[in-house]
Point group: C2
Chain length 469, copies 2
């Protein structure tokens, strides 16, 4: 399919007839704004941005696009990091910005039905107002939309206890690439009536259709969250610490970061160091401390870890303010390292393999690129590592990225060797599609292609993302 | 495709070459035994039973079947209740009985890799030996195999806290209907690299391919489980009880049963009544009481429910033996009512709709079939109801089942009205396929058909199950 450079007046009129004239934009600023996400490597070049208000309007746009063989890019909060929502080739961008409403709340089911354009943080706040909790949380929650979270099966910082976005989706309304509206699973916890189509759409990055509504499960609010930050002598000590705590305590987070990451955050000056002893690695644990016995238990495990030599120093929050400050040591990393033009990879291997994996990557980079500084951090309790290579001051951005691409191949070969994932929670989009075979073999990818044809026979839904047809 | 009545000697020889002569059976007893599951409405009529030992052997059988256009029925513990594993038409039955090994245990990941023929209870016991817990549990755990659990996304009695089988599957090895081996998701918690094919195979009842191995997540063992049985004056009181407890306590079970069910269990004489006050409905709650504060909390919520009039009487277990006896009030129901030739339906609606739904069904049955006794029980915390209609002594089995089929249509119309599921956790198989449209609309079913073609273009994988091609 060749995407046209500009849509005909007829198509634009038909779009206006569907969503209203004010909801169709072709001005340069709008095309630039809604034509991209947080990735900056691609030049946005959509034909038009439309802002539907209902599932039926989305359906009408998809049917029109099929009729004229025009590609569509679904667009949410545009916080994606893999160019899954970038329109580079004359696409109709369907923005869900207006579809941001809570449609229904069912207290007995602890379930909320929402439109997919709701901002993640708004959903979290709505849950809180009902005395409940939406546990998927990450740095971009203030801008990202639920539909985008569903499209990449977003994870974040609470996965060790609460799982990925997938676990909270009890139902989806979607418009398929063919233009059919499907109401998938309708909010049920138990429904054994054939293939669970909702799970195909979760993580599909808008390539099978557009998610327009969702039934989302909510949870009891966690209470009295306690945070521990522990310094370890080496990465090998991280695993026994995780093991010791998990045996007796239900952790709500288990994050890690290296000395490089901590130093950058401390240098920024917004938060003090957790304790005096310098350590090569740090872990941050969180758990509900609503019963004293649990807090006592955590203290005794902490002491046990010190005795074993797995922990050199550590601190436990006594107040909520302290807990928040300890979290900043981990959460400020991304922002703090941004000025160093980090080359980011979001990878995952089994927890068992993390220590060996980190060592191999460190060795690869040290051998070939001794000037590069590696900043490790991530959700170690899920095997999810954020590998950030920082740009040396003496290299231009282009030179640096060119060299990083060479490192990339070696990184992904190591990921493949450990049967890991080249994208743990950021999706594939355009930035990772050339590397998809490092995680999914050619036969599997051939099934992905065939599946796409079932839902999108004309190949109009977000083409060029995940894989090329 | 026309299934042959008997396989040619050539095919039988080829099967022997693949799995070994001793692993190919065509004697009448074997055909009868491995040709069916727990449903008794269909006459088993397979051509041959084969017992492969490896994924590669399964693949070779599937490829052979494709070559000769012979249908395959995968067979696990044969405890299914929807005839999903019944072979009625000359199929090759592939039994997973020999593929029952634990392949690998990864403590840091709390994960075990097993062959799909492992018996559910063996997996539970293996987890326990590692100090961990496999939380999917139900009456047939002693015979059912993991592969079958995955095929129907089995649920059971702990879903309110631990979710369905789906939630514990971190990876699958499958042989597709085409004969390809796919290693899906490889045990990762986070992996955002395109469509999550493992979730299509979970709940597919062997119609897309055969699950041969699985990576299964394990969990911390629950400690000091406490059981409460509460009697309520009406069904409407059940919801506020659930709500009151869930706000403060993480329930591991929330089951319910009616007076009819309790009376049958008491009549059987193996277990005494929980308390003297007779009540129309009972709920059974379970939670971890490892901290005194939680048990105190539960007691005060219990008292609050009494004060509100939601609970007429109740009891909390003080010992593990008492807890087990209270569980028997719920768990013995199925066996106790078996002599009454119950007509079973396993349905699900949103929890919000359960009270109205139960009332409507009671009214339908009372109006048209005043002699029928209804025995309600189920996993109310998930909206999953087991509706059992008991046969009046004066009706023959055939007359009774004929009348029940008429009731069925009205029951499923009511399920549809409430956007519920005609099969919550038993699958569709052959017994429910004529009713599939009550839960999934015609457009959705057309996508299911297309998806099947992607994985099984020759239509050889468990034909006649879920839907007809």
């Amino acid at each position: 399919m060749n995407a046209p450079l500009a849509l005909s007046a007829v198509v634009l009129e038909q779009l206006s007839a569907i969503v209203g004239e004010q909801r169709v934009r072709t001005d340069h600023d709008s095309l630039q704004t809604w034509g991209k996400d947080w990735t900056k490597h691609f030049e946005p070049n959509p034909s038009v941005i439309v802002f539907p208000a209902t599932t039926e309007e989305v359906q009408a746009v998809v049917r029109l696009a099929n009729q004229h063989q025009i590609a569509i890019t679904p667009s949410g909060g545009r916080t994606g990091l893999s160019a899954g929502a970038v329109a580079t080739n004359g696409e109709i961008v369907i923005s869900l910005d207006r579809m941001n409403k809570v449609l229904e709340f069912l207290p007995a089911d602890r379930m909320v039905r929402v439109q997919a354009g709701i901002v993640t943080e708004s959903l979290q706040q709505y849950a809180e107002q009902q005395g409940l909790y939406y546990p998927v949380d990450f740095a971009s929650a203030g801008s990202s939309q639920l539909g985008g979270n569903i499209g990449t099966n977003a994870g974040g910082i609470k996965v060790i206890k609460y799982g990925m976005t997938r676990q909270w989706v009890l139902g989806l309304t979607v418009v398929t690439g063919k233009g059919d509206i499907l109401h998938l699973n309708k909010g049920m916890i138990k429904n054994a009536t054939g293939y669970a189509l909702q799970h195909l759409f979760i993580g599909a990055e808008g390539t099978l259709g557009i998610v327009t509504e969702a039934e989302i499960k909510l949870e009891r609010q966690p209470q009295d969250l306690k945070v521990l930050v522990l310094g370890t002598p080496d990465f090998e000590s991280v695993m026994p610490i995780l093991h010791a705590f998990q045996q007796r305590i239900d952790l709500t987070a288990f994050e890690f970061f290296g000395e490089v990451a901590l130093q950058k955050v401390l240098d920024a000056g917004h938060v003090g160091k957790p304790f005096d002893t310098p350590c090569p690695f740090y872990v941050l644990l969180e758990f509900e401390g609503r019963f004293e016995a649990v807090v006592d238990d955590a203290m005794s495990i902490f002491e046990h870890c010190m005795e074993q030599g797995w922990v050199l120093d550590g601190v436990m929050s006594q107040t909520q303010a302290q807990a928040q400050n300890l979290w900043r040591l981990r959460e400020d990393i991304s922002e703090t390292i941004a000025p160093f033009t980090p080359y980011k990879n979001d990878i995952s291997v089994l927890i068992t393999h993390v220590p060996a994996f980190i060592k191999e990557i460190d060795a690869i980079v040290a051998a070939s690129y001794p000037d590069f500084e590696i900043c490790w951090f991530g959700h170690i309790g899920d095997g999810n590592l954020h590998l950030n290579i920082l740009k040396p001051a003496n290299l231009s951005k282009d030179e640096f990225f060119d060299q990083c691409k060479l490192v990339n191949t070696q990184v992904f070969e190591t990921v493949q060797k450990y049967n890991g994932s080249i994208s743990a929670e950021h999706g594939v989009g355009m930035t990772k599609k050339d590397y998809l075979e490092y995680t999914r073999d050619a036969v599997e990818i051939s099934y992905l292609r065939e599946l796409k044809k079932v839902f999108d026979p004309n190949g109009i839904m977000n083409p060029g993302k995940i894989f090329d047809l």
